[in-house]
């Protein structure tokens, strides 16, 4: 089963996401595969380069979440040199990191989840895009989103050097101080960010929660998987994007393990399937039992849905209220509904904004001592952050001169790969009947993976504006019977 898959060379026009659907003799779905093309060789490319360069190099893995790679690598570089990040350096890193998370989450809700929930899953193709979302929420809201993003990005650019490819993270701290004027501006922007997040949660209540059909979709079996969940928690067990221990909870919500990233290889292993480039991480203590749900399967999920399930709460008061409302409405912890990820993301949006404000108000943010200079001989280091799309792990070993001898990166979408594959398969099985795949069905299958906001790790720009999705339907004899190329709409 599934061994027919042709691995096409990936070009800018095709191949971001491919779904292969294999039908059975009755025209129902035998199995659906979601392919994520992966850029190979990054880990090899890092070998021989100075560990201090890893934050700059890895931020070029992809144009979507450079800050997450920059930060994971900077933290791993701290660890390689055995140096603690200076407290003010950490505050500066954390302000930027929360600002990045805030901006990324906002973008996702308005422009990515938007076509599904704001415009609606059954809307016509022509409306299900950014312009369609603006048409629905209004030009003023659209302007507000663009302006908010711009302000946050400008401030991050000031502090981090560049928004894309930040250059501020160094072993032991950061490269540049924050001035008193800049701190005042950070406070101002953070206050606006909190207001913006509260407003956005209001939009979600009005547009999604008041629409029974949408709520029905969120709660439906086709978009539900009872898996394990993993996320970083702080010393109080609260969600933290920048640092903490990795906590795993079971499908019943019970805590199963909590470990520092240094021990990740004791807890996580990777499974290889012949039909995919992606290695599927799973919980080592349970083992790989296939693409299966439940306590007996090692499949786990990361990202907003998982983080809220894994943690005891949010570290800030308004986000904590939003967290409680989320679980009360959805029937308690844990929430297994994939589409609830959109709501979980907004709870985090508010949490990130509140943390931005908390950090900006901390007078230590403008302290002169921003970096502890490393003095020890470099060896091996681990860095972990919660990227918007989930847990991101960087692991390096170096020689005594700090030149990288080994690099291993486990990226967010990879952590989610097994559950994404299950979600696409489930949605296809639920929706496809007698082998017919039309645009509405295709969109509902896409919704299954779009909730995860999978990042395909490519630096492609899709300049022609083509849609990176390609669905191929095969009959029971593995003959291609239908092809839907969304890049030729």
């Amino acid at each position: 089963m599934g061994r027919h898959v042709v691995v096409d060379p990936i070009t800018r026009l095709e191949g971001h996401g491919k779904i292969d659907i294999i039908l059975n003799d009755e025209g129902g779905v035998d199995r659906a595969y979601f392919q994520v093309p992966e850029l190979r060789g990054f880990e090899k490319f890092l070998v021989g380069r100075p560990i201090e360069d890893a934050p700059q190099i890895t931020s070029r893995i992809c144009g979507v979440c450079p800050m997450a790679h920059h930060m994971a690598a900077a933290k791993a570089a701290d660890d390689v040199f055995g140096v603690e990040c200076a407290p003010t350096g950490r505050l500066i890193r954390e302000w930027c990191y929360n600002a990045f998370t805030f901006e990324d989450h906002a973008l996702h809700f308005y422009f990515l989840g938007g076509p599904d929930f704001v415009v609606g899953p059954d809307a016509s193709k022509a409306e299900r895009n950014i312009v369609g979302v603006i048409g629905k929420v209004g030009v003023e809201v659209g302007k507000r989103v663009i302006a908010m993003r711009r302000e946050v990005r400008e401030m991050v650019t000031t502090i981090a050097g560049k928004i894309i490819h930040p250059v501020f993270g160094l072993p032991g701290g950061v490269a540049r101080r924050v001035s008193a004027e800049e701190r005042a501006r950070c406070v101002e922007i953070s206050e606006k960010a909190v207001e913006f997040a509260l407003f956005t949660l209001g939009v979600f209540r009005d547009v999604v929660l008041k629409n029974e059909e949408y709520v029905g979709w969120i709660l439906s079996e086709g978009y539900t998987h009872k898996t394990h969940y993993m996320g970083l928690v702080d010393s109080d067990g609260k969600v933290n994007f920048y640092d903490g221990l990795l906590r795993v909870v079971g499908p019943d919500g019970g805590r199963e393990s909590e470990f520092p990233v240094r021990e990740y290889t004791d807890y996580i292993d990777e499974h290889v399937e012949p039909w995919s480039y992606v290695k599927f991480p799973y919980l080592k203590k349970i083992g790989w039992k296939g693409f299966a749900e439940g306590a007996e399967s090692g499949v786990y999920a990361v990202a907003p849905l998982a983080r809220l399930n894994a943690a005891d709460g949010m570290p800030t008061p308004k986000a904590q209220e939003a967290y409680e409302e989320y679980f009360e409405t959805l029937g308690g912890k844990p929430v297994h509904h994939t589409l609830a990820t959109h709501w979980a993301r907004l709870v985090e949006l508010l949490g990130a904004a509140e943390l931005m404000l908390e950090i900006a108000r901390d007078p230590r943010l403008i302290d002169e001592h921003i970096r502890n200079i490393p003095t020890r001989t470099p060896t091996e280091g681990f860095g972990v952050v919660e990227a918007p799309r989930g847990t991101l792990i960087h692991h390096y070993a170096t020689d005594e001169n700090g030149l990288i001898t080994m690099a291993n990166l486990i990226v967010a979408t990879q952590n989610n790969a097994a559950r994404i594959a299950m979600s696409v398969d489930r949605a296809a099985r639920t929706l496809i009947d007698r082998g017919k795949v039309d645009d509405t069905i295709l969109n509902k299958i896409e919704m299954a993976f779009r909730a995860y906001d999978p990042c395909h790790g490519c630096a492609t720009h899709a300049l022609p504006g083509h849609t990176p999705l390609w669905v191929r339907v095969y009959d029971a004899g593995h003959e291609l019977v239908q092809e839907v190329r969304r890049d030729r709409a």
């Binding site: 070029r60 144009g63 996702h108 663009i146 899709a462 999705l469 969304r486």
Partner: protein
């Protein structure tokens, strides 16, 4: 904002031929150093992030490596942005130029009146740390000349 015209090179220097957009703007920065009305910028960003870069200019020339399948690798050609119709995207990270222009106009932002896209057919956009392919490397002077033509500057060398 200092200039009315923007030359925007797109690309990732670590990805073989994808570097070409960024490399050519480096040369163009020298060529156009004394032109206060023309800004020359290279970026690996894509999607919605490009919107911020386009706002406020009258004219924009985009330079990029593309796999169109309709040209030989290294061939330089121009794409008419009006022929690139907006399509529904599953991700704003990959939002294309037509979407950005449509969005900017819908929001009443100061979008450029004219957008030209000068492209070079790529041979390899995926080998990490890979060198540019021979065809694309040889196309650099032609690409530079075509961009200068697009902004009305005659290239002497």
């Amino acid at each position: 904002m200092t200039g009315r015209t923007l030359i925007l090179g797109l690309g990732n220097e670590l990805l073989a031929d994808d570097a070409v957009g960024v490399l050519v703007v480096r040369q163009l920065s020298n060529d156009l150093a004394d032109r206060a009305d023309i800004d020359v910028v290279g970026t690996p960003e894509h999607g919605l992030a490009l919107l911020d870069l386009l706002i406020g200019y009258d004219e924009v020339v985009l330079v990029d490596a593309i796999v169109s399948g309709a040209h030989e690798p290294g061939e330089v050609f121009e794409i008419d942005p009006t022929e690139l119709r907006p399509t529904p995207n599953p991700s704003p990270h990959y939002a294309g130029v037509p979407e950005l222009l449509a969005l900017g106009e819908r929001l009443g932002l100061a979008m450029p009146r004219g957008v030209r896209i000068v492209a070079v057919e790529a041979g390899d956009l995926l080998t990490l740390g890979g060198p540019m392919t021979v065809g694309v490397r040889r196309a650099l002077p032609e690409l530079r000349r075509r961009v200068l033509d697009a902004v009305g500057v005659h290239a002497w060398s």
